[in-house]
């Protein structure tokens, strides 16, 4: 049988980087093929080539036995290739129908949109593949999981046979992930073929028919879930053995450091985002906050770190009221913050690594004397942190924006951990990082905890919360609906809580 899609010897060079090096890949009809690799391994480049966003330097793309020339997404769609990007390309103020039609509008009477017939086709597609969605609802009102379905419908509407899903599970709850995989199965049954990009091993092993691992722009190997296991895949991905077991000492819990009582926080649009939340964080423990993104975690962290001020409730750090305190006051009380969005909040990308490493201490001795910055001290500090935190960089004086995501995160962790702290807020500490960096940052977080630091860790990665936390608080719709001991907590239990299901 001819494969539905074949990539032969795809090579793509960027200045200074060989992003794809002689990549071969075959996709059989009716197959779910997982493309596994770390960030920067070249998965996205490959898929962007296939989707016509990049031109390959070498190699050929063969669909149904015929070589095709893809120079734009339009060509790709014509050849039956469709892609769902990690960040959805939907217009929030349009309805589902309008979004699906966009770029391929059916019209009648020379120019008027024919929403009715489109909606009918959408219903047909959603029935056929059990992709439940209401064509008349506005995209902004839909949960993320349903928005993703709209993206898939968009492809099916254009009669794509080859679907590329780029990190489709990154934004979903565990239950939504299960639903997505059911949908993928029914798509495959209906004759579609799927390439799905991920760096999550467990998903790959459960749902893929075949797995191709990419590292450093090269194909390391292709295998099937039956022939392999998590450790072997991780080793293929990283190029060395990786330990998944987090060595965790029993927590030595001491005094309460952060006390939050009946806290109410508004978001940027002045809607109540955090509703009467109460909890404590003690020295020597990690309190993990689990929850699907957008359930008030961001606003909670902002209030605790002084970036916004709560409208009601009590907020004390080491007995001091910090309800109206500025970020600087809170930092000076011995608190550290690994922000959710490292590039927007945590770093000044155009500044040097050395300057970024003193972002919140630049005005203090020894980095400043009077109003003058002491460049030697700043540089010394940078060299120390780069050594201690294994930041891979040719020099401390290059812009931090030129580092990889993992190294950028190490810069932040290094900065926050290199001053005496007793309280840490770590928000999505490993988002978008590769396996090696995740392992490293987890180790450092546990070290801090063992040193007696109180840690509040917010993460949407359920595995991370389960592995690192001593207690787990689950946030749903602005409330903490349960706080449970991490020991004995199961993925299913937390997953249900994340979806707002509280057992009677």
């Amino acid at each position: 049988m001819t494969p539905i899609l074949e990539l032969r010897g795809i090579t793509k060079r960027f200045p200074g980087v060989l992003a794809n090096d002689q990549i071969n890949l075959t996709l059989n009809k009716g197959e779910i093929h997982a493309l596994l690799g770390e960030n920067g391994a070249g998965k996205s480049t490959l898929m962007n080539i296939l989707y016509g966003l990049y031109d390959p330097d070498e190699g050929e793309i063969i669909v149904n036995g015929k070589e095709i020339n893809v120079t734009s997404p339009r060509d790709a769609i014509k050849s039956g290739i469709g892609m769902v990007h990690q960040h959805f390309m939907l217009v929030p103020v349009f309805t589902v129908t309008e979004n699906v039609m966009l770029g391929d509008e059916t019209t009648r009477l020379g120019g008027f949109l024919d929403r009715k017939s489109s909606a009918a086709r959408i219903r047909e597609i959603s029935n056929k593949y059990s992709l439940e969605v209401d064509p008349t609802s506005y995209v902004r009102d839909l949960p993320v999981g349903v928005q993703q379905r709209v993206e898939i419908i968009k492809l099916l509407y254009r009669e794509a046979d080859i679907l590329i899903l780029d990190e489709p599970t990154a934004v979903l709850t565990p239950q939504e992930v299960d639903e997505l995989f059911t949908i993928m199965r029914s798509l495959v049954k209906g004759g579609k073929s799927i390439i799905f990009i991920t760096h999550k091993l467990r998903e790959v092993l459960t749902f893929a028919d075949r797995i191709t691992v990419i590292r450093g722009g090269k194909v390391v190997g292709t295998t099937t879930p039956k022939e392999t296991d998590q450790n072997q895949l991780a080793a293929m991905m990283v190029g060395r053995d990786v330990s998944f077991e987090v060595d965790k000492n029993p927590a030595n819990v001491k005094d309460s450091i952060l006390e939050v009582k009946d806290l109410v926080v508004l978001d940027d649009l002045n809607h109540v985002a955090v509703k009467n939340v109460s909890f404590n964080v003690h020295a020597g423990e990690i309190l993990g906050v689990a929850g699907v993104q957008g359930n008030g975690q961001t606003e909670l962290v902002k209030a605790i770190t002084g970036l916004s001020h709560p409208v009601e409730g009590k907020l004390t750090l080491q007995g001091k009221d910090i309800k109206k305190a500025s970020p600087r006051t809170i930092t000076e009380l011995g608190s550290a913050h690994i922000p959710e969005d490292r590039q927007k909040d945590g770093l000044v990308l155009s500044e040097t690594i050395a300057n970024n490493l003193v972002l919140n201490t630049y005005y203090l001795n020894p980095f400043a004397s009077g109003v003058f910055i002491q460049e030697d001290a700043v540089l010394n500090n940078a060299e120390n942190i780069i050594d201690n935190f294994d930041v891979r960089t040719p020099s401390p004086l290059i812009p931090v924006g030129s580092l990889s995501g993992g190294n950028q995160q190490k810069v932040i962790v290094g900065r926050e951990f290199s001053r005496p702290i007793n309280f840490l807020v770590a928000s999505q500490p490993t988002r978008g990082l590769d396996v090696g960096s995740i392992e490293y940052i987890h180790k450092r977080l546990l070290e801090k905890r063992d040193e007696g630091c109180a840690i509040l860790m917010v993460s949407t990665e359920l595995d991370e919360v389960l592995e690192l936390s001593d207690r787990i608080a689950v946030m749903f719709d602005g409330e903490i609906i349960a706080i449970v001991d991490a020991e004995g907590a199961t993925k299913e239990q937390i997953g249900l809580l994340m979806a707002g299901v509280v057992e009677a």
């Binding site: 200045p15 200074g16 450093g216 190029g239 770190t305 002084g306 970036l307 500025s326 970020p327 600087r328 006051t329 809170i330 930092t331 913050h337 922000p339 927007k344 909040d345 945590g346 770093l347 000044v348 990308l349 155009s350 500044e351 300057n355 972002l359 919140n360 630049y362 005005y363 400043a368 109003v371 003058f372 910055i373 460049e375 812009p399 924006g401 030129s402």
Partner: protein, 415 residues
């Protein structure tokens, strides 16, 4: 990937690395933008010259020759007007007459005189850019700075120059600073956009200075809206005799540029302002006070523009007239961009602009080329600076690893 592999990858031919670096350097881009602007300017001169068309009627080569000749004579006149005519300089030196020598060198010094207000105003706008603020109000701040300076320079009497000059300059700094402070404060407290508010402050400044020159500041002995001459003790020292108007304001400008450089890159205040400018969210995260930074930056920016006005009053005109500034504050936006908001870059761009402006006057007289060609030339250069992709495509330059322009242009979006 192991370290060994990495090292292997970065090992390249040193010559190629050098070319790569040159190709990525923002300086290369700037220089090529200027050169391309000059070439296009020459082309423009050629295609607007009737002689060239007549020559093309004769033959193609005649036309090309005539076009090249037209461009050449334009730039020759520009050079003579801005730097000086070499043959005249040699002649004057041979004759040994001091006035002839001064006349021969005058174009060069006159260009420096024209550069000086550009340096101050360019620094003003550049400082704003660094903090993510788009100060369009430099022109108004120049007028207010000039007005406060002229007040101090006329009405303070009996002071020695060593005190009177600094006080008058300070008056200009504070006057312009106040004019920048107001939109800065409005932005910080009410969110009112500084672009709109500085434009409005310009109108207020223009009309206010007109009012002052028809009323309180008007020379009681004259009929035109011009102030009285300033006290002798407030004038900036001129090292050469007439006709050379070169004054120490140029050196003050260089010194202020040095101070701005130290302030921006060597002090905690500068670090704060730069962080607020390049990433306000990170600045907030780091506990920096964004309101205070915005207000301070606008005050300093206005103050620097005010110094441009003070410089013109104390160094060149010795009085205040209604339209004494010919758009220095607006050209300053352009040259701050050209100088990449870097004090050294601003000084170099200001000198370039000063020489172009001054040379253009001579060019108009001797080659009959309208002075406006210089504005077109500046516009060409700026288009290339603002759209670096054009230059990169023409000269096949490499993309820089990190977008440096993004930092300088942050103010355009006004976020």
């Amino acid at each position: 990937m192991s370290d060994k592999e990495k090292k292997h990858e970065t090992k390249k031919d040193p010559g190629k690395i050098f070319l790569d670096e040159v190709s990525k350097s923002p300086l290369t881009l700037t220089i090529l933008a200027v050169v391309t602007g000059l070439l296009l300017g020459g082309l423009l001169v050629a295609i607007t010259s009737e002689d060239v068309y007549q020559a093309f009627d004769l033959s193609f080569w005649e036309g090309i020759k005539s076009a090249a000749g037209a461009a050449w004579s334009t730039y020759e006149a520009l050079f003579f007007g801005s730097v000086g005519n070499p043959s005249k300089i040699i002649e004057a030196l041979r004759s040994g007459e001091s006035e002839a020598i001064r006349r021969a060198f005058n174009p060069f010094f006159e260009s420096l005189v024209a550069s000086t207000p550009y340096i101050f105003a360019g620094l003003a706008v550049a400082l704003g850019f660094r903090v993510g603020l788009f100060n369009i109000g430099a022109e108004g701040q120049i007028f207010i700075g000039a007005a406060t300076t002229v007040t101090a320079a006329i009405f303070l009497k009996g002071l020695p120059a060593i005190i009177h000059v600094p006080i008058s300059l300070l008056a200009g700094f504070v006057g312009g600073g106040l004019w920048g402070f107001i939109p800065g404060w409005l932005k910080a407290k009410t969110g009112g956009h500084e672009v709109i508010n500085t434009i409005m402050m310009n109108y207020i400044a223009f009309r206010l200075s007109e009012f002052l020159l028809r009323g309180p500041l008007k020379n009681p002995e004259g009929f035109t809206p011009v102030s009285a001459k300033i006290q002798e003790s407030a004038k900036l020292f001129r090292p050469f005799e007439s006709p050379i108007r070169f004054h120490i304001g140029f050196f003050i400008a260089l010194f202020v540029a040095f101070l701005v450089y130290i302030f921006l890159f060597k002090t905690t205040w500068g670090y704060t302002l730069r962080t607020v400018g390049s990433n306000p969210r990170a600045a907030k995260y780091a506990g920096m006070n964004i309101v205070r930074s915005t207000v301070l930056a606008m005050f300093l920016s206005g103050g620097l523009a005010g110094l441009a006005g003070a410089n013109e009053v104390l160094g060149v005109n010795h009085n205040l007239a209604v339209a004494f500034s010919s758009g220095y504050g607006f050209d300053a936006i352009a040259l701050a961009l050209l100088g990449k908001s870097n004090p050294i870059g601003v000084v170099l761009s200001a000198i370039l602009f000063g020489f172009l402006r001054n040379g253009a006057i001579q060019m108009q007289l001797s080659a009959g080329i309208p002075i406006d060609i210089i504005s077109v030339l500046q516009a060409f250069i700026l288009v290339f600076i603002a759209a670096p992709a054009i230059i990169r495509t023409i000269y096949r330059l490499k993309e820089p690893d990190i977008d440096i322009e993004a930092v300088t242009l942050h103010g355009w979006g006004g976020n």
